[in-house]
């Protein structure tokens, strides 16, 4: 159960050759999920790879930030890939897929356009499953220090002496 910058022992070509066609954003291999460009990969322990890929897609659709790479959404939800959480997640994702199918799509992951996926999410937003995933993302995504620079947020400042000499009043356009 590791998140790594590239697939150990697999070239990108090999990875792609082993991939199934589920979803445009993620490639599913045997037992693992990876980015199409092999920028990251995650080997699932308890969830089916398709289920995990759907969860990552759902996470991005709930809190879409176009400048945040998928890897951070993976980190935000990988805690659900546990023996304890997996059955509930599998059930929730099955319900999400059922909602997609009710809208005429093969599955959530294979619903091609974000606008359509958001409509599907709206149809289940009052469910405990949706609220659990959404609520968990508030800390799971935004409390990752690695995403803070994407928002411009500078984090801890005491060790640098605060901002008294580093621009606390540097606004120059008023």
């Amino acid at each position: 159960m590791t998140l790594q910058p590239a697939i150990r022992g697999l070239t990108r070509r090999q990875l792609l050759s082993r991939a199934s066609a589920a979803g445009a954003s993620l490639v599913i291999g045997a037992g693992f999920v990876a980015a199409p460009d092999a920028a990251w990969a995650y080997e699932t322990a308890h969830l089916r790879p398709e289920t995990f890929a759907t969860l990552v897609r759902m996470a991005r659709d709930i809190y879409p930030h176009d400048r945040i790479p998928d890897a951070h959404y993976v980190i935000a939800v990988k805690g659900y890939d546990s023996a304890e959480a997996a059955p509930g997640i599998a059930e929730g994702i099955a319900a999400l897929d059922a909602a997609a199918q009710a809208g005429g799509f093969p599955s959530y992951l294979d619903t091609g356009w974000e606008r359509d996926r958001v409509d599907i999410l709206r149809s289940i937003e009052d469910s405990a499953f949706f609220q659990t995933i959404r609520g968990g993302l508030v800390t799971g995504l935004y409390n990752q220090k690695a995403v803070w620079p994407i928002f411009g947020y500078e984090g801890e400042s005491y060790s640098q002496g605060g901002y008294i000499e580093r621009g606390f009043n540097d606004i120059d356009w008023l």
Binding site: Y163, I164, I171
Partner: protein, 523 residues
């Protein structure tokens, strides 16, 4: 050298809680030679322990024992188990507070008289007034080193303030400045000056912001008259057959129950824990809880009318740099019923980091309407709106017999419904806040709902007549002479101002009274 008193020592004053009320009271009594045992539910954290990280700090300092909520306030929906954002630590919420140190306006001591009858509001005049409080405010301002008092310079304005000030002046507001803050603009009282670090809410690592944790508490201990027992959770106040309190039962960190005898007991656990303790201390003699012959214990819970306005601009602001609360507009703090509500409100800059902004900007929201706001975080400015809310008898802290804390004690349920006056004031404040930012070119503005409450007031209120409240003009309970309330729960009404300075002033005054009465053998 910190004192150590025997459990059987019935000459001590026992104070429950060590924040702005209890911590100051403990030191002031110790300085006068009164021996004090202070029971503090939390641990001791000092500037070197504080962390510049919102969630990590929250885990370190926040009061996270279970509580429940009810009522129409949005906090009950979005943060049902967290009605308050307050601190469980030596020094209490003075580690977390922003430092705004404002006196009540004279008319706010007399809300019932000034505002007249307000339907559904349980308004009452305080039994004390501005003239009586003036010398105590003077002492409190000196203790805290409040800027713009006693010749202390104001703090320099940060980016969030400079933008706010420009908008305020464009609207014609005139009472605009960097605040009266218990944050040092220059070294004061042996503490450093503000380095504009941000993270005021997470405990000031420079010690530039006044906190009882590293001022009053150690000074009280240095007298040899104060013992602070950390991780000691008060469970029950006991009394004798004459109806006088005899001491406090508490759990130590290992869950062992002890009984500390006392000559006087002072309750200062903030406005949920203080009434909860009185209610949990019910006995055959006092079946409705201690000091509750009026039925007012737990009632009239106030949390200030609050809300925030955040705005985004087409150029960077970087509001998180520098003091969290960096300036104030006081023009709307007046009482002017022509605006459609009684009482007034302050507008104060506020900044959150990205982790808390995600949690609090619009709790429960998702999708691009929400995420595009966060995408503009670096271009965002923010202010907090804080005004007087109406006391209502039905807004109250009760015991929830269904839910127990880690000690097996019934937890506090906090019920709150907004009064129409609160809603009218909030809507006015939202409009004015938006106007401030639009005057400097905001591209988008956001009305942010109240956070879990930091200003918790009124659940053991002060009253002239015993039938109207819980404590008298000294914070002494109407029913039991040697039982006092020493925190914000004694507030009769909330006024528009941040409450800490008033809590501190009342604690200094109460210490003076208790020491005098003890010396006279009348207590």
């Amino acid at each position: 050298m910190a004192a150590s008193f025997e459990l059987t020592d019935d000459s001590v004053v026992v104070i429950i809680g060590t924040g702005a009320g209890g911590g100051v009271l403990a030191n002031e009594l110790a300085q006068k030679g009164v021996r004090v045992v202070a029971l503090e539910a939390g641990g001791r954290y000092l500037p070197e322990d504080y962390v510049n990280d919102e969630w990590e700090s929250f885990g370190q300092l926040a009061w996270l024992d279970p509580r429940t909520t009810s009522g129409d306030w949005r906090v009950a929906r979005d943060f049902s188990g967290l009605p308050a954002w307050i601190v469980k630590a030596v020094g209490g919420t003075t580690t977390h507070w922003a430092g705004a140190s404002l006196r009540f306006q004279a008319h706010e001591w007399k809300a019932a008289t000034t505002y007249g009858a307000v339907e559904g509001a349980n308004l009452l005049d305080w039994p004390i007034d501005a003239a009586e409080m003036e010398p105590w405010y003077d002492l409190a301002e000196k203790k805290l080193g409040v800027t713009r008092t006693n010749g202390i310079a104001g703090l320099p304005g940060n980016n969030n303030y400079l933008l706010f000030e420009k908008g305020a002046k464009a609207l014609g507001y005139t009472e605009v400045h960097t605040g009266r803050m218990a944050i040092n603009s220059a070294e004061y009282d042996g503490r450093s000056f503000c380095h504009q670090t941000g993270f005021c809410f997470q405990g000031c690592k420079w010690g530039a912001k006044w906190s009882a944790a590293y001022t009053d508490i150690p000074r009280g201990e240095a007298t040899g008259n104060l013992e602070v027992r950390e991780r000691a959770h008060a469970a029950r106040i006991l009394h004798d057959d004459a109806g006088r309190v005899t001491g406090v039962e508490y759990f130590d960190r290992d869950g062992n129950l002890h009984f500390q005898r006392a000559r006087i007991v002072c309750v200062a656990g903030n406005s949920f824990e203080s009434p909860r303790l009185l209610l949990n201390s019910a006995s055959s003699m006092f079946p409705d809880g201690l000091a509750n012959s009026s039925g007012q214990v737990g009632r009239n819970y106030m949390r200030h009318m609050t809300g925030s306005v955040y705005a985004t601009f087409d150029k960077p602001v970087r509001m998180w740099r520098g003091t969290t609360m960096a300036g104030i507009i006081s023009d709307e703090a007046r009482h002017d019923p022509g605006r459609g509500f009684v009482g007034g409100y302050e507008m104060e800059t506020l900044a959150l980091g990205i982790p808390f902004m995600a949690a609090f900007l619009d709790p429960g929201a998702w999708g691009r309407e929400f995420t595009t706001a966060l995408d503009a975080y670096e271009y965002m400015a923010g202010m907090w709106l804080v005004g007087e809310d109406m006391p209502q008898e039905t807004n109250r802290v009760t015991l929830n017999a269904e839910v127990k804390d880690q000690w097996g004690l019934p937890v506090a349920n906090v019920h709150f419904d907004d009064h129409p006056n609160d809603i009218a004031m909030r809507n006015h404040a939202y409009r004015q806040g938006r106007a401030v930012y639009e005057a400097v070119g905001a591209t988008r503005t956001f009305p942010t709902p109240p956070y879990p409450s930091t200003h918790n007031l009124g659940t053991n209120r002060m009253s002239e007549r015993p039938g109207d409240g819980v404590v008298n003009r000294w914070g002494q309970s109407h029913d039991i002479a040697n039982l006092f309330v020493s925190d914000g729960s004694q507030f009769t009404t909330g006024a528009a101002e941040n409450p800490t300075l008033t809590i501190v002033a009342l604690a200094i005054r109460q210490a003076d009274h208790i020491a005098r009465e003890m010396a006279a053998q009348t207590l």
